[in-house]
């Protein structure tokens, strides 16, 4: 069972309690920078912390439901699939996040 997932990596990013609702937090893993969000209904999402438009710091955007608005030019990005919403076009990489025993993990 273990062998199949050998290349898959994950990071533990702290407890769910430490993530404030609707306020993003940034975490660096190697050379990757991820934006982490805990939504109003306690789901956790992780996306690449770079707006597809001009590289804005998404972790500082306003969060509404499962979307974040980039602080630089107000692009609306879906946290679930990473897609920029019309009329803008583009996509950020998304990562699977999970909560287990109160701890938040992101799979890389």
């Amino acid at each position: 069972m273990q062998g199949e997932d050998e290349e898959r990596m994950k990071v533990e990013v702290g407890t769910l309690e430490q993530l404030p609702k609707r306020l993003g937090k940034c975490v660096r893993v190697g050379n990757r920078e991820l934006a982490l969000f805990r939504t109003g209904d306690d789901q956790v999402f992780a996306v690449e912390n770079r707006c597809p438009h001009r590289g804005g710091d998404l972790s500082q955007g306003i969060v509404s439901g499962e979307y974040v608005f980039c602080p630089l030019h107000d692009w609306k990005i879906c946290l679930r699939d990473g897609q920029a919403q019309a009329p803008d076009e583009g996509c950020v990489k998304t990562y699977r996040a999970a909560v287990k025993d109160g701890l938040v993990y992101v799979e890389l």
Partner: protein, 808 residues
Amino acid sequence: MRRKLVLIGNGMAGVRCIEEILKFDREAFEITIFGSEPHPNYNRILLSKVLQGDTRLDDITLNSWEWYERNGIRLFAGETVTEVDIKRRLVRTDRGRVVEYDELIFATGSNPFILPVPGADLPGVTAFRDIQDCERMIEYAKTYKKAAVIGGGLLGLEAARGLLHLGMDVDVIHIFDYLMERQLDPTASKLLQRELEKQGMNVLLRKETAELFGNGRVEGVRFKDGTSIAADLVVMAVGIRPNVDLARRSGIEVNRGIVVNDYLETSVPHIYAVGECAEHRGVVYGLVAPLYEQGKVLAEAICGRKGKPYEGSVVATQLKVSGVDVFSAGEFMDGEGTESIKLYDEARSVYKKVVVRQGKIVGAVLFGDTSEGRKLFDMIQRGDSVEALSLSLFAPAALGGKGSLAAAMADTDVVCGCNGVTKGAICQAIAEHGLKTVAEVRDYTNASRSCGGCKGLVAELLEHMLGEEANRYAVKETICGCTDLSREEVIASIKEKRLMTVKEVMSVLGWKNEEGCSKCRPALNYYLGMLYPGEYDEEAESLFVNERLHANIQADGTYSVVPRIYGGVTTAEQLRNIADVAEKYNVPMIKITGGQRIDLLGVKKEDLPRIWADLGMPSGYAYAKALRTVKTCVGKQFCRFGTQDSTGLGIRMEQTFERLKTPHKVKMAVSACPRNCAESGIKDVGVVGVEGGWEIYVGGNGGTHLRAADLLCTVKTEDEVIEMTGAFLQYYRESAHYLERTSKWVERVGLEHIREVLFDVETRCALLERLHKALSATTDPWRDIVENERLQQLLFRDIGDKEPVPVE
């Protein structure tokens, strides 16, 4: 020693009074509150929202547990006072607790009236008054199907609507000839009934309940006329009674309510009553506005500052009943000696009636369109002559002359049945986005997306909208796509329903996007802050990053820091300090700004609190919708042309108005002569010194909307400049749309109008009073954060670096 104040009743009226007392004097009393319900103070008006299942107790909580703690209030929730010993001045509770008082307030509210009929105590029968009732009803709705609500007043209808939402079949039983007879006349009531029946309620009129029957639990209701209906849940909403038992037992004079005088004092010294339990000049009030007025008068009196007495309230009702707007005020029933003016538009479900007695407006009922309610209420209170009525009140807006179906339809009529898209929604989308084709309308609104049967009608609407009709929809500018409400409508609802948080506004006003968006949340945050200075705490998650972090975000994700340099006048020591800080934090760029101050650019987010601490200067608000800077010229101290002390006045203005939040940024300037070296002509407020006085210019802009400022007035003294500027700013704060610069605002409302408002001494004083209230509630945000480790952690620190590990 602090005096002991005990409040019996932890509800809206009592706690509001405590809030008022704390505002006067935080230290005067040692406060103890007893409440029978095991909850902190919540907004009872919104219980029906909880019943509908889309709102939780948290969302309607007005004072959190933490609020009581923060204000040093001892709260015993779920504990009932059972005895008041007025001789020894102490109260006893059902848990045997004994607490002494120096001053005692009764705010025991009212109890639901339960009909004294057989079976009223059967399981499955409930009132609709508190959280527990709500929870009980929600629980029943899970297992049972048939509900009966006894009472067709406001409360009963709200309960019925909630139960309908929960999936129950609902009968509304009313003893009178028509629903809501206290607020509506028969015509309006019939329209309402039609609407409610459309929504699925079954209304039974002229039915007097004889008994509730059932074996072990309620199974039905039998009426005096011999008929009966089946019901698994019966909600009694036939009225409320002031809760006066304890007061009566304690020897306090009680009539229908606890009798109070104009200072809310009862017949016993040091005992007061406020809210629904109090009877003032023979009247017991049930609406929130009068209760809050009482709370304020009592707070003043109890703090030893007896001011204006409470002289009773004139009440108007403005409500949304099951999604329909209704309004009534004054003498709204036709009677002897009255005449009335009516509009009855059955197609649009709009009804308006103004009642006139001897040429004066004495009452009104509005149904379906209550936008003129406030205005009519003022007219009724003033006793205006009927001639003051504007004809537009009765203009049937939707009946265009073209005779086409599209034109004749009401905004609320559905065009696309498959997707439930109304004419109003389509027209608004056309106006807002400049749509030209049926396909565009489909993409924006979903109309005609499914069966396509309405394409012809959509095409007709498009054609119709290209004409003058476009303006009607363009005029209504909603806050954003999350709501159909305009700024004015939202603000009116916030005030009327006393909504206190962004979440509450969105939930109560039916936001289409549950959590709003980047446009409406900051806007609501501003409006709430403007309406409730000192009471409303900004919500970090509803702020744009710059205002959340009190710094300007830059293209590369770093931030800039601009400390306050009043009037652009600095000192060697201040400059040296700034230089030291810049070196210490390796600030990549130091820039002199256009507003005569210094910008430190390229600062890391984590460093911001440390830099502020080291600078020890107040925030310059360069990131905020607030007063930015007051630019000044050198002035007569040095300049050979200067006629006035422009730097002195500039510094004073900046110190007076700093930290004031406004709909958009506000820039000011003071020049000492008409050469205008501080560029006063392109500022939101620009002051120009002339011999013997100052000219005040407003609405100038040097940015995207280049505009020369208008001369508002000329005054003689610096004090007058401060006063006029203050009133201007406050009026701008109260009436501009969020993100509307003064240049646009002045053009929209008109300079003459602004003059009328500001030059009226009474209005100006009122504006200034509200301005000072807002100003006195502000503190320096940088210092607040420097001193608050929790905020630093919450907003400025990220998770940092993490090492990956293999997935097990």
